[in-house]
Symmetry: C2
Subunit: 234 residues, 2 copies
DNA sequence: TTGGATCAGTGGCTCATCCACTTCGGATGA
DNA sequence: TCATCCGAAGTGGATGAGCCACTGATCCAA
């Protein structure tokens, strides 16, 4: 069994979640100013220092902007946010927001980007990378349970991104995978057993190892479409 | 004139930069533990509170991970970082690191993702979006100077992403544009005058407005390849 | 061998206080 | 009348001391 790490939200984690929801739910609309830190801290029953830590994180995510002497204004995340916002957005969307289009859109991008990455990986992978990929593929099929298979599967995706020979794709895939994990922990979605997951993934890995970009692209599209169906249940 | 925003790094901004460089330069290798916050703060001559704010930002970016009772460990950004790291990475790479491959890789992704977005935009754009796109296009060519043209051009890219009908692409383009701006402010790279920039961009906008996905993809590839040549000087 | 207690080291969080920046309106002087 | 200056109010930035909570290692007792 994979030991579940226990969530254990710290105070500022909770604060971040709360503020994030308030912002995304338009309680504080884009362009408006948040209440002064002192007031906000008081209303949440925390110190200004802790509140500030939370605000720093929201600012880093591109949800708000704080200016000395002026205040903290809410930004339009569609203009200022990056893919690192996805976990936050999905958490919110699957919570009360009930905007499952986000889910669809993440999978859509995953599919299109995944196809590009697969094609690149087939074109650029080294012999060593092909070997490592095959080894990891074996680890997927021989995983003891769905949890382990899922982890091994994610590792295959990382290796594909690495084989694509462009580190930006690695970063991008990291964000998308993080969004996946978020969904997964919220859903506790059912996953296929290791053997089946391996069978779905195998053609993709084979094509990449064989160095066939077109076949890899096609295999990736098929694989990701199937994954999407499984996770979205459609 | 566009009012220059004034850099004005705050103390924690400076701290973040310093720590980020120390981490990326492998002064603290991935997997190692940072010194205790009290020591680190003392060694940088700041309060523990300020240092903590900086660490929170690095943690949010996926560069380090802080655990209560244990310490702060350095993560491998290629495994845990997202595209939001790009500005940081470029700043570091163009500074002392001198790893211009990052620049190349960002442009490469921009080119491939841009092609996908353009094709999607052509397929999904509404009549209103086409009109707005054309209007913004006019704003590019009639910009008073290179700065204004650059801003208007970025706006076109945002609108293309919005027209693609998938908000995840918007977030992704945000990150890539932010990386661009970072490069630009570090380079003070020369930009073509508005008319020329407009001429390069026009075929792409036309194809998207005409609703021709394949033409849009081709136009986007040509446009982005040219942009890359201009900015990288090759 | 196991289980529990202890302790040192580390981050989490608070509090009180002062500094620095922005804004705006009123006083001042041409 | 108008422009300019200046200062008060309000806001975030930063400090430093202090206490609490968690982790991991060690050691002792069952």
């Amino acid at each position: 069994m994979t030991t579940s790490p226990i969530a254990h939200d710290s105070l500022v984690d909770a604060l971040v979640n709360r503020l994030r929801d308030d912002v995304l739910a338009r309680r504080y609309p884009a362009g408006s100013r948040l209440p002064p830190e002192r007031d906000l801290a008081a209303s949440y029953g925390v110190t200004r220092t802790s509140l500030k830590h939370a605000l720093v994180r929201l600012a880093q995510a591109g949800l708000v902007e704080t200016r000395h002497g002026v205040g903290t204004v809410v930004l339009d995340y569609r203009r200022h946010g990056g893919p690192d916002l996805l976990p936050m957005l999905l958490t919110h969307a699957l919570g009360d927001g009930a905007d499952d289009r986000w889910l669809t859109e993440v999978f859509e991008v995953r599919q299109e980007v995944g196809a590009v990455v697969a094609a690149r990986a087939a074109a650029h992978r080294s012999a060593d990378q092909a070997d490592a990929l095959r080894a990891q593929m074996a680890a997927v099929t021989s995983a003891r349970d769905a949890d382990a298979a899922q982890l091994a599967e994610a590792e295959v995706h990382r290796m594909l991104a690495a084989a694509a020979g462009n580190r930006v794709y690695e970063l991008l895939v990291n964000s998308l995978l993080k969004a996946y994990l978020e969904v997964r922990s919220l859903f506790r979605a059912p996953f296929a057993d290791p053997a089946v997951a391996g069978a779905r993934l195998a053609p993709l890995v084979d094509a990449v190892c064989a160095g066939a970009p077109d076949a890899a692209r096609t295999a990736a599209e098929a694989y990701l479409a199937r994954t999407r169906e499984l996770m979205l249940g459609r």
